[in-house]
């Protein structure tokens, strides 16, 4: 069992508060991803869980035991670093054994564990090499191996794939997920890449400016974002946002361009005259002759199987349309579009919060 | 160590790592600076401070009592002022020649020449020689029946008893000191020259600047910070010149090559009675000069020190 709980965890440097009171409950065996733009505090939060960064206020508990004052080494965690942080002067074997030696594991046991782990991660042929003689992917495996061999309660990953090229990143993503399935440990993974978060996570914690914006399953975040930030951050290409006002009677929205569109009648709470922002994902927008909203085409990307049109509304609001198949559209051409009313999201413009009720 | 780590916490453990260094610094660098003031204010020839009578500023008065500072014979402690003026003369000549030749050598080494590494070592290697060895090497060459006089005899110029003549002894002291230390400054200046980006020169070439203008308008200004550091460093070291000249001439003939550090050494340690107070007072005056020079240097190279 390894449950990780954060209770009102705070971190400040002098008078600057970088983590502003975060509550999280990560269950045993969950693969939890911290995601957010750079500077959101996700790495700091991870380092606070690891014990490498002291906590200014609040509690971190592992298996119901508060570990605030327990040194990093004694928390039973292992971490994979962004730069891998392999010991450059030690061979792969020594890199793997260093931690085990420190806790007094017998030589035979060390050899056995290294044998197992290196085979599992396919680094058994590299054991006598130095880190500088390894490729990026191999270093990554060694870094993971160093964590695995310690048999920690919880694995911490700090943007481990950000130094790899795109193709390798996809491969390693799959391998880490497979590793999680095989070991069944709790894992906490930090990334700024929402695709990584969506593909790997059991639960995602979206962070911004030291605050937790939303915590939940990937598709919940995608389908029911709690605010404009999460809605815009999760999903690629980004969700479109169009500002407007709820019309008299509440059946439709009048956009700032003057155009109108029907609103869903259930699932949202809004008042006539309320300033709202309508969110709609690019794939829920379609080109319709005589549609309610007009858009001038700025650029077109034809990928063969699918196409993207980037355009602007009359008031300059940028809009992306994602269509399957190939289309013919000229730059500067004015198209009319229609949104799928069942797929829209509504947010209060002022607070940014979703108007969806559960 | 682990128990200590538990007790102190990781960051305060830093003090444990610092401790040996701080003790040594404190005992052999800090404490002496403070004690020096007490020595300078006391007299007698006892080394223990408790046995030394308080004389106030009398040591300084002795040192600084002079009718005309330019005429050493009018000074009470004329030996001190001889050493001071010798040092001033020495430093000006030595630093001037040394930095000049170091710059020339660095510029030549920075050209597209073959075997640059070899030539760099050639100019650098005397830096490694000990002062006493340097002194003996040149003493052997310059002695009455030495190889230089043999050469002069051969040309018909006739030999000179170099180290017996005050002017020549001084001149050769400057020479051997330049010979021994020039390579060090050459190395720093060469590094400075090599740090000037190549494309600046290429741009100058495109602007049709000739070699001399390129040197005057590009190389010199861009090298200026390094030059300044070299100059100050050379001054700091020049003021402290002792070893090689002491082994070379013993300060003589007479006091022709006695410099300020030798004065301090002789007053405090070599003579009888041992005038620690006078030596400490003179040290303080030298320290004052060095602190000013070092502050200037730190200001110039602050970026390097901040790391």
């Amino acid at each position: 069992m390894a449950r990780v709980e954060l209770k009102q965890v705070k971190k400040s440097y002098g008078s600057v508060e970088v983590i502003k009171g975060i509550d999280l409950d990560i269950q045993h065996g969950e693969f939890c991803v911290f995601v957010g733009p750079s500077g959101c505090g996700k790495s700091t939060l991870l380092r606070m869980i690891s014990g490498l960064e002291p906590i200014s206020d609040g509690d971190v508990a592992i298996d119901n035991e508060v570990v605030n004052d327990i040194a990093a080494a004694d928390r039973g965690l292992a971490m994979v670093f962004q730069s891998y942080a392999l010991y450059p002067h030690m061979s792969v074997r020594q890199n793997l054994s260093f931690g085990l030696e420190n806790i007094g594991t017998s030589k035979a046991e060390i050899a056995e564990k290294i044998g197992q782990v290196s085979k599992m991660l396919q680094i058994d042929m590299l054991l006598d090499r130095k880190p500088k003689d390894l490729s990026g992917g191999q270093r990554q495996r060694v870094a993971i191996g160093r964590a695995v061999v310690r048999e920690p309660r919880v694995f911490l990953f700090d943007e481990p794939l950000s130094n790899l090229d795109a193709e390798l990143r996809v491969d390693m993503r799959g391998e880490i997920t497979a590793l999680h399935r095989r070991l069944g440990n709790t894992m906490i993974y930090v990334t700024h890449d929402q695709v990584e978060a969506m593909t790997m996570a059991d639960k995602i914690a979206v962070l911004r400016l030291g605050e937790l914006e939303q915590f939940g399953r990937p598709l919940d975040l995608y389908n029911r974002p709690r605010n404009i930030f999460v809605a815009g951050f999760i999903g690629s290409p980004k969700m479109n946002f169009i500002k407007g006002t709820v019309a008299e009677g509440g059946a439709s929205i009048t956009f700032d361009t003057g155009e109108t569109m029907a609103l869903p009648q259930s699932g949202f709470d809004y008042q006539p005259g309320q300033k709202v922002t309508l969110g709609i994902r690019p794939n829920h927008v379609s080109l319709v002759e005589g549609g309610s909203v007009s858009m001038s085409v700025k650029s077109v990307e034809q990928l063969g199987g699918e196409s993207y049109i980037y355009g602007a509304l009359k008031d300059g609001t940028l809009l992306t349309v994602h269509l399957s198949g190939q289309i013919s559209a000229e730059i500067g051409e004015v198209l009319t579009i229609e949104g799928d009313a069942d797929e829209v999201h509504l947010f209060d413009t002022e607070s940014g919060l979703s108007l969806r009720h559960d | 160590m682990l128990a200590l780590q538990r007790k102190l916490g990781v960051n305060r453990l830093a003090w444990a790592f610092l401790l040996p260094n701080l003790i040594l610094f404190g005992l052999f660098a800090f404490l002496p600076v403070i004690l020096n003031v007490f020595y300078a204010m006391t007299g007698g020839d006892n080394v223990l401070l408790a046995d030394r009578p308080d004389v106030g500023a009398r040591n300084f008065v002795t040192l600084l009592d002079c009718e005309n500072y330019l005429d050493v014979n009018s000074c009470r402690e004329d030996k001190f002022w001889r050493a001071v003026w010798n040092t001033v003369r020495f430093v000006i000549l030595q630093v001037g020649f040394m930095v000049g030749f170091a710059l020339l050598t660095a510029i030549i080494l920075n050209r597209d020449i073959r075997a640059r590494g070899f030539f760099r070592s050639v100019f650098f290697f005397p830096v490694l020689l000990s002062p006493v060895v340097v002194a003996l090497i040149w003493k052997w060459i310059l002695q009455r029946e030495g190889v230089l006089n043999a050469f002069l005899d051969w040309t018909g110029a006739g030999g000179i008893n170099w180290l017996v003549d005050a002017q020549w002894a001084f001149g050769w002291s400057v020479f051997i000191s330049v010979w021994a230390h020039m390579g060090f400054y050459t190395l720093i200046l060469l590094a400075g020259l090599q740090a000037i980006p190549r494309d600046v020169y290429e741009a100058a070439l495109m602007d049709r600047a000739n070699a001399w203008r390129t040197f005057r308008r590009i190389t010199l200004p861009l090298l200026a910070p390094t030059m300044l550091v070299v100059l100050i460093l050379a001054l700091i070291k020049g003021v402290q010149t002792f070893d090689e000249v002491y082994a070379f001439t013993g300060g003589g003939p007479g006091t022709a090559t006695t410099f300020i550090i030798q004065y301090i050494y002789e007053e405090g340690f070599a003579g009888a009675p041992r005038l620690f107070g006078l030596a400490a007072a003179a040290s303080l005056l030298v320290a004052g000069v060095l602190v000013v020079l070092t502050l200037i240097q730190l200001r110039i190279s602050r970026n390097n020190v901040d790391g």
């Binding site: 080494a73 971490m79 010991y87 260093f98 420190n102 | 790592f17 002496p32 597209d112 190395l187 070699a211």
Partner: protein, 350 residues
């Protein structure tokens, strides 16, 4: 020869030597002569016999006179060629010389003595290295003792300095703690006050600690150098913190991190500092001159300096001793000159 030619004609690849190239090479060749010449002269001189050293004008190579074995004489006789008179062209052995006249003997006719004037004969000489200059250092002086003193001081002081300074550099580069800035300022402050201006109080402290006339009195006061701390700190800052964090997660104690991670990773900087320290210590003069006053404690530098006063006329021993004193440094330089150059450039001197 072709290589020499291509070396001399090397320019910016255009083939033709500009006049500035000629001046440059002339300067550099003169530099070789001026910088190496004196040392070469010293080494050659150190192999000359006392007679040869007295000779004026001196000759470039060390020579020794040939001898001849003559029946009836236990020792070989000095060999001469006769250049004038009835024996002209003969090789003779000299049996006696006095007042401008020499008594010689023709080896084939050992019974007959001839008396010749000195300018009638010319010594027969060959290049020979007088190694006895060196061997008598060990016989007549306590050379090994001085050598040992210098070596002991150099090795111990270097090791101590490396340990103490790297510990401090580690603390100052890898920990955030209260007072770090103050400590750094203190270190910078001590840069300003060189040993040369605190000789008197330093002497008191060393005496009070019972280290006067002890090698430790030379070793310990210089063990904490600001230059060393700075050089190492500069390097340690470049070691990524994540490696330290990884080691902490691996349950390594801070001491273990220092010893197993930081020290091996700082090896290049430590090597540079070690070379500098060896150089400083081996060549140190003023402070040993004050602390070590008994002959049996002398370092090589002190011994050299004191013997040049005492043995004004004993140039053979003095020259040999000088060569042996510069030899270790020359060896260090030959093998490690690349490190030395970068080291000097990176510290900007002491």
């Amino acid at each position: 020869m072709a290589r020499v030619l291509s070396f001399l004609t090397a320019t910016r690849g255009k083939g033709r030597l500009h006049w500035t190239d000629w001046v440059s090479y002339a300067y550099l060749i003169f530099g070789i002569f001026l910088m190496f010449g004196p040392v070469v002269w010293l080494v050659l001189s150190s192999f000359k016999s006392a007679n040869e050293l007295d000779r004026f004008p001196p000759r470039f190579l060390p020579y020794a006179q040939e001898t001849v074995e003559v029946d009836g004489f236990d020792d070989p006789l000095l060999a001469f060629t006769v250049v004038d008179g009835e024996l002209e062209g003969e090789i003779v052995g000299q049996t006696r010389r006095a007042a401008g006249r020499a008594e010689v003997i023709v080896p084939s006719n050992p019974d007959e003595r001839f008396r010749l004037t000195v300018d009638q004969i010319e010594p027969i000489e060959r290049v020979a290295f007088a190694t006895e200059n060196y061997s008598q250092l060990f016989e007549r002086f306590n050379f090994l003792k001085f050598f040992w003193n210098s070596t002991f001081i150099t090795v111990t002081a270097t090791l101590l300095m490396l340990l103490v300074n790297s510990m401090a550099a580690f603390a100052l580069s890898k920990y955030e703690f209260r007072g770090r800035t103050s400590v750094l300022l203190i270190v910078i402050g001590t840069l300003m006050i060189p040993q040369t201006v605190v000789l008197v109080p330093l002497f008191l402290i060393v005496t009070e600690l019972g280290m006067f006339n002890s090698l430790w009195g030379v070793i310990i006061p210089g063990a904490a150098t600001p230059t060393g701390v700075f050089l190492l700190r500069q390097y340690m800052i470049t070691i990524p913190d994540e490696i330290l964090d990884a080691a902490r997660m691996d349950k390594a104690s801070e001491w273990k991190i220092f010893w197993r991670i930081i020290i091996p990773l700082s090896a290049p900087a430590i090597a540079v500092l070690a070379i500098l320290a060896i150089m400083w210590r081996w060549n140190d003069f003023l402070w040993p001159l004050i602390v070590l006053t008994r002959t049996e404690n002398f370092t090589l530098q002190l011994a050299l300096n004191s013997f040049q006063g005492e043995l004004q006329t004993d140039w053979p021993s003095l020259l040999a001793m000088t060569v042996l004193t510069l030899l270790p440094i020359a060896a260090v330089f030959m093998f490690l000159q690349k490190y030395i150059a970068t080291g000097i450039a990176s510290t900007g001197g002491k």
